[in-house]
């Protein structure tokens, strides 16, 4: 089974019929909306967040269609989809792949592209420069990357041999930690002096894998590298330079960041809304976003102990994260905002079962 299909059904197994299939697509491409981030969080599929940014909607729909044809998934009510018996079996038996072990989208998806493109362009630049060849055409043309690489090059231009040797040792050390397949794909993608890297399509042919697989496996390798380099800086002194100024995803939107700053200055939510000229509901969105990311978020300021207990009980009873269903089980005075905050910070999982509604009837 294709890696992408495995991912889709793994996500599906977690979110069940709580969300439409679209939600999975948004998670994979790393949509910058609170809904998506919150979904990634509460359904515990954050590792998949933003791992395939270039996945097209058509290509995704095509996979869904194939999975239906193979009788792995089937339609459920209201545009949702569920796993079949066969699908459930597949989900439970898969997992050996080192891929699943390495990806961590919620943490690294924002750094990944910059990291890998810097690496590619540095290798191309330094190898060509070592050979005295300056008329090469850069494989990366995004100005944020080229500017960075130019600076890097300037700093290191007098010890190119050392840089290349260090890159070799550090990359080899890193790649030894993953499967030969992943290491090999990674190396084939590199461009050096008079030696251009393989395109995605060429890699597909060479490894007899689908394009999605190649993309995803490269991403996993990058996440793995980021993880190692960030955690073992002393072992990777050169590559540490590539990631120092990059930040792991924390606040998805700048707007939420601003709200957070004001919050720390002890403004009330209404004041923040007025001050920023935004709707109160928008500020609520920001707070939910902050709650997802900030482990020290003071939930009790917004939801008191008894309301919290009631909401948790309601979630369990509904066996669902659907706001409407939960709200129906609660007092009038409990707001959607409070329910969302509790969902954002909770660690409870839903019970599995074919149909949530009928389950909850017999509980």
């Amino acid at each position: 089974m294709q890696l992408l299909d495995q991912i889709i059904i793994t996500c599906l197994e977690k979110i069940k019929t709580e969300r439409s299939i679209q939600a999975i697509y948004y998670i994979l491409i790393g949509k910058k909306s609170i809904q998506t981030v919150q979904d990634a969080h509460i359904f515990k599929i954050g590792s998949f967040y933003g791992i395939y940014k270039t996945l097209g909607r058509d290509a995704f729909d095509e996979r869904i269609l194939q999975l239906k044809k193979q009788n792995v998934i089937k339609p459920h009510v209201e545009n949702t989809i569920q796993l079949t018996e066969k699908g459930l079996n597949i989900v439970h038996q898969q997992k050996d792949d080192s891929f699943f072990q390495h990806i961590n989208g919620l943490r690294y998806s924002d750094m990944e592209v910059a990291f890998s493109e810097r690496l590619l362009l540095v290798i191309q630049t330094v190898t060509n420069s070592k050979m005295g060849y300056y008329s090469f055409i850069p494989i990366i043309d995004r100005s944020t990357i080229t500017t960075w690489v130019r600076q890097f090059f300037y700093v290191h231009k007098d010890n190119q041999d050392k840089v290349l040797l260090a890159l070799y040792h550090e990359l080899r050390q890193l790649l030894k930690g993953i499967s030969d397949l992943h290491a090999s794909i990674f190396v084939d993608r590199l461009t050096g002096y008079q030696n251009y890297g393989q395109s995605i399509q060429q890699l597909c042919y060479q490894y007899n894998l689908h394009e999605h697989d190649i993309q995803l496996r490269l991403t996993a390798t990058h996440h793995y590298m980021l993880h190692e380099v960030l955690n073992l800086q002393s072992q990777y002194p050169l590559l540490t330079n590539f990631v120092n100024d990059l930040t792991t995803n924390r606040f998805i939107t700048n707007s939420a960041k601003k709200t957070n700053q004001l919050l720390h200055q002890h403004y009330s939510l209404k004041q923040i809304a007025a001050y920023r000229g935004l709707k109160l509901n928008t500020i609520y969105d920001h707070i939910v976003e902050i709650a997802i990311y900030d482990p020290s978020f003071p939930l009790h300021q917004y939801v008191d102990q008894s309301a919290y207990q009631e909401i948790i009980a309601a979630i369990k009873q509904a066996n669902s994260f659907k706001l409407k269903q939960i709200k129906q089980l609660l007092r009038e005075t409990t707001s959607y905002f409070q329910i969302r905050l509790v969902i954002a910070t909770t660690t409870i999982s839903l019970k599995s079962g074919e149909n949530n509604e009928s389950n909850s009837l017999f509980n």
Binding site: I123, T127, K130, R172, F186, V187, G192, G197, I200, Q201
Partner: protein
């Protein structure tokens, strides 16, 4: 120092070439002296230099209007790689901030590439008005002529833009302009006294070969046969992206020792560059591509150009085979023809421009919008989607409507009488365009079916005399593949383990290259 010596001096200094090629000096001298020039030179003859050198030498800025974004970007990259740094391409792919930055510092550049669409932008126009534009270049100038094979409506607006720029020197360049198209270029630019430098466009080192086949299977068989004998830099042209992928996979399966890849406009930047550069570096043998490939490529030793699908006009064909043999050595153009192939360009011609009902529907909608006081959205893509037109179709129609005073910017203008008349005028214009294209297609097909000399025949509309072929003439004059003995590409092996490959890429243990410049 006289001017010629001065130019040769700078040619050597900035571009590292010893001498000018045919036509270059004549055109450059005229341009430097402030004369407007129409230059028609064969593909690959070095037209770019005709404005790149003046750009370097003239005070002020040189603007180059170029129809293909990929082409522009490639040229800019190449110039930059070769130490011409004051160059930039302004296009819609640029990030907003980057574009702003470029516009603010426009005076720092000597050479500015723009697409005709971009040039319509009011901000860009007013920026250009504030600086001194000394030379205005129209590359692929046949696009300006409605008789040209790549007619692009936005090109028609160039005349007024040039007028707004206080009359810079104008240089129009093309490789495929018949005398009719040449006249049209002068009149569309309103420069009747442009100096014409027209050079014969026949390429004496390219051999023409056509093979008629029963269908796609036979095309594959022929290619497989060729590829089992020759490993030479080869391009195979297709009319669809899908076909490049499919056939490339099948060829690779049948010829595992050849390195084959595909290339089309739908691929990501990094992959496009990789494929293009692998090919330039002889890391790849064969590229299956659409016409998106080749324009920017600068590989002197492409030996074989195969047309799996033929283009809809002789002019496009000449341009595509023009990528072959830029080093002057014997190269082959092989066209594989099956009778069904004509349906592809035929349906393309029909779909390229909006149909009568589509024009009608759009105008209906505009008139209701007018009555409700609704203006056009700003986003052109959105409008095209609303009208269910392709972007090209909408761009065409918008230009027609503007021309007839039906719309102006975002506002819709309306008068009952005009409306009716405009519809008929646009409709008949579309009809005549389609007729022309069909005629062009017939011309292409009749060339393919010719029984006399293919070389003589393909150039007959462009010029009267023909150079003697350097190696062999064409399949109708008795050429056969077995006469062809090109130099074959040497292939070096890549090590098996990733550890060794990594070591090699990072040049560990490799000596520095002293002879490189």
């Amino acid at each position: 120092m006289n001017q010629t010596a001065y130019l040769i001096d700078n040619l050597q200094q900035y571009f590292g070439y010893e001498t000018f090629r045919e036509g270059q000096l004549e055109i450059i001298e005229d341009v430097m002296n402030g004369n407007d020039v129409l230059g028609v030179l064969p593909t690959g003859s070095g037209k770019s230099l005709c404005y790149q050198l003046p750009a370097k030498l003239l005070e002020g800025i040189t603007i180059v209007v170029s129809p293909l974004i990929s082409l522009m970007m490639d040229q800019v990259k190449e110039l930059k790689a070769n130490h011409f740094k004051e160059v930039v391409a302004i296009n819609s792919f640029m990030e907003y901030n980057e574009r702003k930055n470029v516009l603010q510092n426009i005076h720092q550049y000597k050479l500015v590439y723009v697409s005709p669409e971009m040039l319509q932008h009011p901000i860009l126009q007013s920026t250009l008005k504030r600086v001194h534009v000394s030379l205005f270049v129209i590359d692929e100038a046949h696009c300006i002529s409605q008789w040209g094979h790549e007619f692009r409506p936005d090109y028609l607006k160039l005349k007024s833009i040039i007028e707004d720029l206080q009359e810079p020197t104008v240089l129009a360049l093309s490789a495929t302009a018949t005398p009719t198209v040449q006249e049209d270029i002068l009149s569309m630019l309103n420069r009747p006294s442009m100096i014409k430098h027209i050079y014969p466009m026949d390429r004496d080192n390219i051999i023409f070969s056509i093979e008629e086949v029963g269908g796609d299977r036979e095309k594959l068989m022929i290619m497989n046969h060729i590829f089992s004998t020759y490993r030479v830099p080869t391009l195979v042209y297709f009319s669809s992206k899908q076909a490049t992928e499919d056939v490339s996979n099948r060829l690779q399966e049948a010829n595992p020792s050849l390195r084959i890849a595909y290339y089309h406009g739908g691929m990501e930047h990094i992959d496009r560059i990789s494929i293009q550069q692998q090919f330039t570096n002889d890391q790849l043998d064969v590229i299956c591509c659409t016409s998106a490939f080749g324009m920017g490529i600068n590989k002197p030793n492409i030996r074989l150009i195969i047309h799996y699908h033929f283009p809809a006009q002789v002019e496009s064909f000449i341009q595509e085979i023009g990528r072959a043999g830029r080093d002057g050595n014997a190269s082959i153009s092989l066209l594989l023809y099956s009778k069904h192939d004509i349906y592809i360009p035929q349906s393309f011609i029909r779909q390229e421009l909006p149909s009568r009902t589509e024009v009608h529907d759009v105008m209906e909608k505009l008139s209701t919008w007018f009555k409700k006081d609704i203006t056009l959205p700003d986003d052109q893509e959105e409008i095209a989607r609303d009208f269910q037109l392709s972007e090209i179709q909408w761009r065409f129609l918008r230009f027609q409507l503007e021309k007839h005073g039906m719309i102006k910017g975002q506002s819709i203008l309306y008068s009952e009488l005009n409306w009716e008349q405009t519809f008929h005028q646009i409709d008949s214009f579309i009809q005549s365009r389609q007729l022309l294209k069909e005629k062009k297609l017939i011309e292409m097909v009749s060339w393919i079916n010719a029984t006399d000399c293919l070389r003589r025949k393909i150039y007959q509309n462009f010029q009267t005399t023909i150079k003697k072929p350097k190696f062999a003439c064409c399949s109708n004059c008795g050429f056969s593949f077995s006469d062809w003995k090109p130099e074959q590409t040497q292939r070096n092996n890549t090590p098996y383990s990733w550890q060794k490959r990594l070591k090699r890429i990072l040049l560990v243990g490799e000596k520095m290259n002293d002879k490189a410049k």
